[in-house]
Symmetry: C2
Subunit: 199 residues, 2 copies
Amino acid sequence: MSAIDFWFSIGSTYTYLTVRRLPELAAREGVDVTWRPFDVRAIMLEQNNIPFRDKPVKTAYMWRDIARRAGKYRLAPQLPAPYPLNDLAFANQVALLGLNEGWGQKFVIAAYENWFEKGLVPDEGEGLTASLEAAGQDPEPTIARAASDTIAAQLVQDTETARDLGVFGSPSFAVGGEIFWGDDRLEDAIAWARHGSLA
Amino acid sequence: MSAIDFWFSIGSTYTYLTVRRLPELAAREGVDVTWRPFDVRAIMLEQNNIPFRDKPVKTAYMWRDIARRAGKYRLAPQLPAPYPLNDLAFANQVALLGLNEGWGQKFVIAAYENWFEKGLVPDEGEGLTASLEAAGQDPEPTIARAASDTIAAQLVQDTETARDLGVFGSPSFAVGGEIFWGDDRLEDAIAWARHGSLA
């Protein structure tokens, strides 16, 4: 049994599905998962790989696909959610701070619930403060800590680590030297963690 | 139970997985599938949505992902296959002629076997002639018929039909007013055909 590194960026749409179903699935399968925020937008810009910008047909499909899959997972998002985020990097600095301090998963789950189920963006305003409160944090000082140069530099460093692994999108799952990309590869990643293959 | 239109372009990499596993899966599930070739490259160029061009990281991932999934499906491709094709439109004109005349599925399956399992491109040369022979056709006159203005115009028309349905990639599955994109959505498309939902 290998562990999985779950590389994600708050700001990615399909990551909603993973964030909402991963905790229960990982517990049921007995797989250890480390949550690793990174700045997917930085990598996408470097690689000229912006999946939805100026692509209205593909974007419309993405929302419909998420709606159908959310139904399969018994989730009830309000779609389309506000998109794209203005400050994707900062949302992930908050997540990184939280994971350093032990409240990160609660924050990320609340951030996606507020964003996709209540229409509140996770990177500023009510969505950010409500998600911090859901994770048991006082918003104002927490936001100040997340905005520190130290956390900003750590996110840049972790993004370099993700890039070096071959991660180019969110969600991605790193397990046993393999990268699996997409919520629809979560089961593959778990199979690889358990068996070292998909068979 | 709804029927599925399987929209595909010979030239797409992930379509290899679908072409090789769809006949058995559709028979087992009792779902009627109509094979519909189109020119995915024309739509991708129009929509500025070229998935792999100048994206080496994403392209490397694609080959690894196909290798893993092929193993899951007990297929043994030689990867990477020659890519991209020079004359994607013509390969699909041949497929369209064959589907008009009743030998199209055999040709498409042979074309992908020759391309992905023997390294022979499907749009010209030995890969084209061997795939036509596998479908019981005399290559030279068949290639001449496939190159006719009538077949070229039918492929353009069918590509417009696909575009109007919201198809932007190959493979896509049209069922009950829904579009499902990607080999990894084939099971979703079959579920929708059977139940009108993914649940």
